[in-house]
């Protein structure tokens, strides 16, 4: 198991990237995984990596896999190129032993490889465990006979009763709002004005009137005032509004 094709959920959440990118990235769990895969594919000696070739392959792969957006892959690519450059430097054939620029990379690859070995162990153990089920049933009701329940049916019924009592209308509230009835209000106002030439707002609107009725009356009044059917007056602020039928319209 090299991690190829395994899901990559943990990393994926980090990224805000187009889906295609995420899908491709899921093939490798990181730049070391990709590097190790290349080395295996090419059957290279990990202690003597032909760095120029590997760097080239690595770059090619991150381009074709569109991994070049992930910083970690780019960082590894840069590292490979740097090592490649260092390899090209002339070696001083002096007394000092040559410090192989690849040694750090080799160390990391070995370390990573070792970790992959542990991953294999864990993966096998995890699969073995996944092939068995534990007890899933949690005894909500404990043992059947006379087992104390956390919640009894009578408690539930009491809750139902509580709700039904505190709810005004046991059927669901009609959410369709009532439309304002302006023509209706106008005919009411006309009827009142026909009886009395002068009337008060409080006569037109009952104290228990619902908002839509208040609104209908108000709109009706305004409409009637506009066409000159009545006059609306308020002697002083907050005083009761007086409505008088217009003499002209009355005459008409």
């Amino acid at each position: 198991m090299t991690g190829a094709g395994t899901p990559f959920a943990g990393y994926r959440t980090d990224l805000v990237a187009p889906p295609s990118f995420v899908v491709e990235l899921a093939e490798f769990s990181g730049p070391l995984d990709l590097l190790l895969t290349l080395i295996r594919e090419e059957q290279l000696d990990i202690y003597d990596i032909p760095i120029a070739r590997v760097a080239e392959q690595f770059l090619l792969r991150i381009r074709t896999l569109q991994l070049n957006e992930a910083a970690e892959y780019l960082e590894m690519a840069a590292r490979l190129l740097r090592i490649k450059a260092q390899m090209l430097l002339p070696r001083s054939d002096g007394e000092e032993p040559w410090d192989d620029p690849r040694s750090e990379l080799v160390r990391r690859l070995l370390e990573y490889q070792q970790m992959r070995e542990v991953v294999d162990v864990l993966e096998r153990a995890g699969e073995e465990r996944r092939s068995r089920f534990a007890r899933a049933y949690t005894p909500l009701a404990a043992a059947p006979p006379e087992a104390p329940l956390a919640l009894s049916l009578s408690e539930l019924l009491a809750a139902v009763d509580r709700i039904l009592r505190t709810t005004k209308d046991p059927t669901l509230h009609d959410v369709v709002s009532r439309s304002v009835d302006v023509p209706g209000a106008i005919s009411v106002i006309r009827a009142i004005l026909a009886l009395r030439a002068r009337t008060l707002w409080t006569d037109l609107v009952a104290p228990e009137a619902e908002p839509w009725q208040v609104l209908s009356t108000l709109l009706g009044l305004l409409e009637m005032a506009k066409v000159g059917e009545c006059r609306v007056q308020q002697p002083r602020p907050f005083a009761n509004v007086e409505i008088t039928s217009d003499a002209a319209s009355e005459a008409a």
Partner: protein
């Protein structure tokens, strides 16, 4: 034990809910109904005759393995099977509403209860007592909730019709609590 009985045993143990007889039969496509019934009998007898600490019980139209009552106290004392938490009043009332008026949307519940019920719905759903049963009409096509078989199991009801009708409630509430 026959292989079929062993399969039933494993299934009863692994299932999070009681398994209806038809589902037990579906475990092995090649087994006849009679063979499954025989295997179930074999299994029940095994746990009966041997005097085991668990037994196979029929509940909510299905079968499950339960610990014998005489061990419940010791197990609970050791807190091995954590005791179920009590439902809050908010959760209880929401559950009651859903039980009686399902399918029911969140907006209606909130209107009746006068409080927001988002987290209550979530916890009832997590406990498996309610589930989404459809979508309502209207703006946003709201999710509609209903009770689940776990709800029935919880209250040891065979079906929803066993709940008293709302007009029988007063009587039901005065009556002695039913042994569950």
């Amino acid at each position: 034990m026959t292989p079929l009985a062993k399969l039933l045993e494993a299934a009863l143990f692994a299932s999070a809910r009681p398994i209806p007889t038809e589902e037990l039969a579906a475990l092995d496509a090649e087994a006849s109904k009679a063979a499954v019934a025989a295997a179930l009998d074999e299994l029940r007898e095994h746990y009966d005759v041997d005097g085991h600490g668990v037994e196979i019980v029929e509940i909510a139209g299905g079968w499950q393995i339960l610990t014998r009552a005489e061990y419940t106290e010791a197990i609970e004392r050791a807190q091995l099977a954590s005791r179920p938490a009590r439902l809050s009043a908010a959760a209880l009332e929401t559950l009651a509403l859903i039980a009686y008026r399902q399918p029911l949307g969140r907006a209606e519940i909130e209107e009746i209860r006068g409080v927001s019920v988002g987290s209550v719905l979530k916890s009832l759903h997590e406990r498996g007592l309610i589930d989404v049963v459809g979508r309502g009409e209207g703006m946003g096509r709201p999710l509609l909730y209903g009770t689940t078989p776990i709800f029935l199991e919880y209250f040891a009801l065979r079906h929803l019709e066993e709940l008293p009708r709302s007009d029988e409630l007063a009587v039901a509430l005065r009556a002695e609590p039913r042994p569950l």
